[in-house]
Amino acid sequence: MHEKIFEKIEMEKNQTGNIEFFLGEKEMKSFMLPEFIIERSDERCIRCRVCERQCPEGTHRYDGELDMMFHAEEKCVGCQRCAVFCPTNALIVRPHPSQYRPNANWTREKLQDLKKQAETGGVILTGSGNDKPYRIYWDHLVLNASQVTNPSIDPLREPMELRTFLGRKPDSLEIKIGEDFEGVEIQSELFPNVMIETPIVFSAMSYGAISYNAFKSLAMAAKEYGTLFNTGEGGLPISLRDGYGSSAIVQVASGRFGVDPDYLNVAAAVEIKIGQGAKPGIGGHLPGEKVTEKISETRMIPEGTDALSPAPQHDIYSIEDLSMLIYALKEATNYEKPVSVKIAAVHNVAAIASGIVRAGADIVAIDGLRGGTGAAPKIIRDNVGIPIELALAAVDKRLREEGIRNKASILIAGGIRNSADVIKAIALGADAVYIGTPALVAMGCTICQKCYTGRCSWGICTQDPYLTRRLNPEIASKRLVNLLRGWSHEIKEMLGGMGINAIESLRGNRDHLRGVGLEEWELNVLGVKGAGE
């Protein structure tokens, strides 16, 4: 048996033309090392070929003659689909142990990127959020709890309220009161607000970037839990408008894909997308091969053409232009929808946010350094923007200093990983948070960062019908609702511990945060004391 295998391997080597036999290079061989190693327990493997079918990269291969499984490790992206679906747990996929000579400056990743670039001559693309070890401020902030002087509240026994309103609030209410204080009536004009049952909203992920099934799962979950999903810039399929429009924040981005009066009016809120945390200052590019018939209908572009989102909105070159678009959208929706403006967290984020509020936005959405993406130049994703925690603290402070914090809600995105991050964001001053990556992970994503290839094995970030079928919206939306429910329970527990029974009493309440392991300037920007202070 072993002889036979050896023979076979030799034969294959010769077929593929092993270049070590040539004196000079005839064609470019890839010098990349595999990113993952696949360890297959031959004892456990039952040759069911699930791994082969599950892998869209063609990593696994069954040889019928030998009755053996082979794998091409250089193709593996580490998505773990095969390992999860292997019925006998015969597979271990882990980072490849092969190392260049250790070098603090020239890391394996840097070398691999150089080699990849030398082989392709292109911009290196990536997906998901920044994976570099920038300081994660959430992990340096700790929460308060009540002891003695103030009773903690048990959320299992007492009401604990997470209901949140997004939109502009008036400076004061004028109220007409009858003599007996019974007939109280509000006289002030009110601005449109959207009510959500938990301060967690699904981030913008467009139909096109993600599959119809993934998109629909988000819509279903948002509706069921009483929160919102964001359509991203790829429009809202007509088939989803009646059922899920009222749970949608619809985006108007630089490509204006899928924007029509009906799109704006079925939504709960409208969002102007100026920038994205993963790629501030950069546009988007959905390759033509992903523009299927349904996507072309929804985006209102011809089938098979590239969907290009310009870097800026070409009708917005200044803050007054933004104001005109905000009011154009308000006109188009009869002043019945809050209008949000989403920007990437950049150096002057506080001043920009203040301008946005003054320009008439009802919600300011800020996407931080670690915000995710379906595709972005790696060099941009990893180097542009500032951490959301600092951006949020600065924006909240600035809006308060200018006395306009009530005029807009703050939604933040980019790097929220669990319910503690949510509650810390709210204590820093956010009204609610956007979650993108956690929602994807709930549906199956393993953050392999290959979203841009269009071959997502989990059926999320792909338009290949063979792959998208893997995601059942009934099941995926259940996972998402469970996530929202679990986080909301945890938030209630933490709130109760602090002696607070409504989320609004924690909003901007930095008293309940302390910093650990932070420098003086960082504490100052965050506006929180150090632990023990």
């Binding site: 009401p159 309103f165 607000n193 002696g499 924690l506 309940h512």
Partner: protein, 381 residues
């Protein structure tokens, strides 16, 4: 003991005060004036609720001869005469001072390190930009100036025909120091006994807190302090004393005086009904309460508290929406009482016509010549 606001970062703001307390308020709804004995006797009855680190009183209707002038009570820390000189100059520049004197006191009283406490009766002398301000707003801005800019000077109260007397010691000793039993007659008396957990004794830090003729006495620790404080800053109120009570006083001033909302509405902002309850209201009420919660959510007062707020002609008491601190109301003839404990009311008026315990978030509103306090009986426990 005052702290400068460091605008560079909020992290420099000291911790808020934490405390538990005893509260008592009594009002004659016909406006008949009476002495301080009742308030003093009642607060002595609740001795266990204080620890001698602070006591104070507010009384309304005590200056009939000067009732058209703002009565400004100012303490000078460490008896700092330099501060007094600055205040004198500041006041005579901005006001017509019709009369001023040291507040009579008993130096033998058992109080700790008494400051110099002076009272000025003044009327505004507005110039330039200030002409646009109402008298009240003008006085508020000048009081804020003294509190934040003149070291060792701190304004106890600044309303007409009323005054705040407070200090470090048990309340009865503070009353003894200011001779409250002998010199004053008012139609509302509010008393406070303090049990701070983390604060050094400072005369300015005792209750009641006051702005204009609004006074607040408070028992509790507000978990929403940071949210409330930062919201009030947007409206020009800077909390310089770092106590929950100051937040309450400014919130009351903003909502009731500046925005003109009655306590019946304000109480639903401070102690908002639960969403579960709002869901079951009729459409009109549902809209009202939802809107109040939406617009004024930063002024929801969370955590345990009971508060008695008074101003000219009105006194009300309220406890937090899940009723984590006590309040009891009682009535006898023209007298209406609010107290942390029923025993304190019984101590001064053993036979009551009515006694009741309002539900969490339900205000007991006592108004001159009205029976509004009876409205809360149907919402009692």
């Amino acid at each position: 003991m005052r702290f400068e606001i460091n605008v560079k970062s909020e992290r420099f703001i000291p911790d808020k005060d934490m405390q538990a307390c005893g509260l008592f308020g009594v009002m004659n709804i016909e406006g008949k004036r009476f002495g301080g004995e009742m308030a003093i006797k009642a607060i002595i009855n609740m001795k266990a609720r204080g620890n001698g680190l602070g006591g104070g009183f507010a009384a309304y209707g005590i200056y009939p001869d000067y009732k058209d002038y703002y009565a400004i009570h100012i303490m000078f820390q460490n008896r700092n005469l330099d501060a007094k000189k600055k205040v004198d100059e500041f006041l005579s520049k901005n006001f017509d001072v019709v009369f001023d004197e040291e507040i009579p006191n008993n130096p033998e009283a058992d109080v700790v390190d008494p400051p110099l406490v002076w009272r000025y009766f003044v009327s505004p002398k507005k110039e330039g930009e200030d002409v646009k301000l109402s008298d009240d707003d003008y006085v508020v801005s000048k009081v804020m100036h003294i509190n934040t800019s003149i070291d060792d000077a701190y304004v106890f109260s600044s309303g007409k025909d009323m005054g705040v007397f407070k200090g470090v010691g048990f309340p009865e000793d503070v009353a003894d120091f200011f001779l409250l039993n002998e010199l004053y007659k008012g139609y509302i008396w509010v008393a406070h006994s303090r049990f701070p957990t983390n604060t050094p004794g400072w005369w300015g830090g005792a209750h009641p807190f006051s702005i204009l003729d609004w006074t607040v006495v408070h028992n509790g620790e507000i978990s929403s302090y940071g949210t409330n404080k930062r919201f009030l800053e947007m409206y020009g109120y800077y909390c310089t004393l770092f106590t929950d009570t100051e937040v309450m006083a400014y919130a009351v001033d903003l909502l009731m005086r500046r925005q003109g909302l009655p306590i019946e509405v304000v109480s639903k902002i401070f102690a908002a009904p639960m969403w579960d309850l709002i869901e079951h209201m009729d459409e009109k009420k549902k809209k009202l309460y939802s809107t109040l919660r939406m617009v004024y959510s930063p002024l929801l007062i969370n955590g345990p508290f009971t508060v008695i707020v008074a101003h000219q002609g009105e006194m009300f008491g309220i406890t937090d929406r899940i009723r984590l601190r006590p309040i009891t109301a009682g009535a006898k003839g023209d007298f209406v009482f609010l107290s942390s404990e029923e025993s304190a009311i019984r101590a001064v008026s053993p036979k009551l016509d009515l006694v009741w315990t309002p539900r969490g978030g339900e205000p007991v509103v006592v108004r001159l010549k009205r029976k509004d306090h009876l409205m809360s009986i149907k919402e009692s426990i």
